[in-house]
Symmetry: C2
Subunit: 129 residues, 2 copies
DNA sequence: GCTTGACTTGGAGTGCGCTCGAGGTGATAG
DNA sequence: CTATCACCTCGAGCGCACTCCAAGTCAAGC
């Protein structure tokens, strides 16, 4: 698979794919004799994983570290697991935060639904709470 | 309340508070005769709302628009409500995405828990899936 | 009256995560 | 054989959301 194929498959630009490889967010991709990237299933798996983690807000730094550990082999299994658990915690925290914001947003929309925002005082001085 | 008080209250730096006001993310804050910001309850409400929405990933652009509409008065109520509903949709989408990523992360951690990652093949060629 | 210190502004600088451009190479079509 | 075209690298540039800095002002304490 060429870089263009992969970029279409996962919705990332070729530039982004090259960038990810350059910084070690994915391991080196196999090349043809001519030096052209030839993504195999393994490389695609890494791309997909990173797209998924990035879209959830996981910091690139943590992911680079994870890849580096993976490439070091067996003895880093425990470390990798700990890293994933730490990231899970952070992800859960972010989701809890978002849920609070969503509740808040829903309450605000309810306000509009019930016409509470029509009270003159609220509009005149811009008070929203 | 001074800008420092407010910054402590909400965990935003004074610079960020000034920045928010400058770009219209919050309406102009009342000033003392000397020109020093003197946050009232209303201003604090805006700060808190924006902190909440920003932390949930709502784009600054949308929030600036919301503030601008609010400052225009009654006739923008419907528009503001539509804006909030659109943002809610986007927030829900982001949360659904995150949930998928979290599920994926959990599956990966389970893999480590069950020692699946010890299979030589997986480690040798870096395959993670 | 003078010092101190928190505030003010406008503008420049920073870090992250891409994104683009220049200049070059290799494989296929005509 | 040449042209085209997708790929390559390296390095610079960009947009967002702050963050910092320089230079100035005001208000309270000595």
């Amino acid at each position: 698979m060429t870089i263009t194929d992969v970029s279409k498959k996962y919705g990332l630009t070729p530039d982004t794919l090259r960038y990810y490889e350059r910084i070690g967010l994915i391991p080196p991709v196999p090349r043809t004799k001519g030096g052209v990237r030839d993504y195999d299933e393994n490389s695609c798996g890494w791309v997909e994983l990173m797209k998924c983690m990035r879209s959830a807000g996981v910091q690139i730094e943590a992911l680079i570290e994870y890849v580096a550990l993976s490439r070091q082999g067996d003895e880093t299994v425990a470390e990798r697991k700990a890293l994933l658990i730490e990231q899970r915690k952070q992800m859960e925290d972010r989701m809890a935060e978002m849920q609070k914001s969503l509740d808040r947003l829903n309450a605000k929309i309810d306000g509009y639904e019930q016409g509470l925002m029509k009270r003159e005082r609220i509009l005149r001085d811009g008070m929203e709470e």
